[in-house]
Subunit: 357 residues, 2 copies
DNA sequence: ATTATTAGCGAAAACGTTTTCGTGTTGAAA
DNA sequence: TTTCAACACGAAAACGTTTTCGCTAATAAT
């Protein structure tokens, strides 16, 4: 019972040809009922399963998608993976994950490693370093190689491919609007540097919402944090920044933070300073993770539906992969098919908890 | 520039044989310097990379390991993955993940899918349903097929394979000891049903620590929660259970919870009941995740070093895979090599924060 | 009785590699 | 001049499939 049995072995044992075995198992009508029975029984007995690698080589497709994300110990990203895995499995695909660790080089290495036949397509979110460098040649290169890419969340206009994004702008507008509606006039935003597109967009949404309500945005109320400082592991730094910010701007009555960490830290700092939440200051965060649910008070957030993002991205990719199949001959003959790429925008939703009125 | 170039194409273009190209690229001395130069230059120009699938078929090994875990949106499991990925990549392996969703059937399906040639070995943590059923035939079957398995965290004695586990018992002892040392006499434990081995072991550690200190364990102070209730998404249920527990046992001055969720919920409930932490009640949790760091007060925990677990598991697996290679001929000739499996115990560490004195 | 079909099966190519084993050519040794 | 090694390369097998094409024998049609 060691090792998997192959067609060749079955053929030898039963004294037929390999082709006969293959056909019998796929129930081809070229083979007599009698022979089929015999072969099937034997295969069953020895638990024959076709070798995936051989199939992949033959079909020149692996039925697996490569996921490439900055990190995996992260609620949003792991949620997206779970969504991808769900539909991938349902549609007969496997999932292989690579981690860039926010590094440009690791991103490239991982892509090249997987692009050499291991996967049929990529679903990825761009690393911060790549975003900073604005060097996207590895993406376009693999697309030119014929490997489709679907980007999610951290996407970039320079690369022509399918994309699934959160409606960052609208989500932020909604969040800030809620603050306005519940009486806030001095609304601050705690955000990231502009090169992270989601930070930029959420800031824009913040400004738009204010302007929609005839409130002039006050630059002093915009706190841009440099997250290259690894604030995650230096909470004191983060708290200090926010405390200084609060000290400098005494009138703040509402805070919109572009991620969970900033939001709950803001709450903590405010509470330490003697403010009550939501009575004195209301807080809304972007990204609905574990922290929001368990903070005190529980945090009102803009949920980005990570699972749905993953599902949609997977569907987009697999659709494209299967389309490629169908139109392969046409593709060879006709002029390059006008590939128009899809950009899916996943709506956000405000989850109301106790940090707002 | 569409599609990857193959040896065959290079051979044709340069009017040499496929073998010559292959040898030239691997710098064989069978080939003249001149020809090598030419071929290498051409290959470089067209960015030739050997096709992984073809290599896998040839070598009958894929250089990828399959990870099979119950869920991925989970701090501990994703941390383990990050550890696996780290050493896997360093040692030239890729990582393909499957999610069992705590389901027996999905676990089997996933295993079979991957076992047909897609991976060289498994690293896995057993699903709850499987643990309940106590049906482990799929594990032994794949091991008998010649595919090595390394189990971590949720392991089981019935399956002979390498294992990496947390020192649950000792970790719990340490935690409870700390509570005792800081003055607690009425120490409660909030744990899971016994079929989850980690729950059972941690409970044992709790009892042992008490006995070590000549404190008679009080059955009333042991709260076993049935987590099939999906308490994660029904926090009220969880809170109610804990509140009832506190009400029934007024004297509690220390709580040891076997996971983060139970711990912070216990804190929350206690605080709502007017207790102060750590003055009135001290709390320690098992598993160091995001919640612990950000709870109020921050939670003292027993850290299980998930990343290290992943790293060790990956090393164990890859070591075994490479050993297989070396001793293959010997294996064929000699009697079955005495496989003695390794069980690594990763020590825990108490991370002191503000929920204890 | 001859031809045309059809049923049932096998040979071989193909996917992209690596590697073993020739084989022909060259230059040097005898 | 003959012999032999070294050199430089190619043919072919193998990994495990699927699939196209042929082939043989039996049956049906003429």
């Amino acid at each position: 019972m060691k090792g998997k049995i192959t067609l060749k072995q079955i053929a030898k044992e039963l004294d037929v040809s390999i082709s006969t075995v293959s056909k019998a198992l796929s129930d081809s009508k070229e083979i007599s009922e009698e022979t089929k029975q015999k072969i099937k029984a034997f295969a069953e007995l020895y638990n024959y399963r076709p070798n995936n690698i051989a199939l992949s080589l033959q079909n020149r497709k692996t039925k697996t998608i490569g996921i490439l994300i900055p990190e995996i110990v992260h609620h949003f990203f792991s949620t997206v993976i779970s969504g991808i895995e769900l539909v991938a499995n349902k549609r007969g695909y496997n999932v292989i994950v690579g981690l860039s660790n926010e590094s440009f080089t690791k991103e490239i290495i991982n892509m090249e490693m997987l692009a050499n036949g291991s996967i049929d397509g990529f679903i990825l979110s761009i690393s911060k370093e790549t975003l900073l460098k604005q060097d996207y040649h590895h993406f376009t290169a693999t697309i030119n190689q014929g490997i489709p890419i679907v980007m999610f969340d951290r996407v970039v206009a320079e690369v022509a491919c399918d994309k699934v994004i959160v409606d960052d702008l609208n989500g932020s507008v909604k969040a800030v609007q809620k603050l306005v509606d519940t009486g806030c006039r001095n609304i601050a935003i705690i955000t990231t540097m502009d090169y992270v597109s989601v930070g930029r967009l959420r800031t824009q949404g913040y400004i738009k919402a204010l302007e929609d309500n005839k409130i002039t945005p006050n630059p002093n109320l915009i706190l841009k944090l440099d997250d290259s400082l690894d604030l995650e592991n230096h909470l004191e730094l983060l708290e200090n920044e926010i405390r200084k910010f609060f000290d400098l701007n005494p009138g703040i009555d509402g805070v919109f933070a572009v991620n969970e960490l900033y939001a709950i830290t803001a709450m903590k700092v405010a509470q330490k300073m003697g403010f009550h939440i939501p009575e004195d200051i209301q807080v809304i965060g972007f990204t609905d993770g574990v922290l929001s649910k368990h903070a005190t008070p529980t945090l009102t957030t803009v949920s980005q539906h990570g699972k749905r993002i993953g599902e949609q991205a997977a569907n987009l990719l697999i659709d494209r992969l299967q389309n490629e199949d169908d139109s392969y001959e046409q593709y060879l003959v006709s002029s390059k098919p006008k590939t128009d790429y899809i950009k899916l925008v996943i709506e956000t939703e405000i989850i109301e908890r106790d940090s707002t009125k």
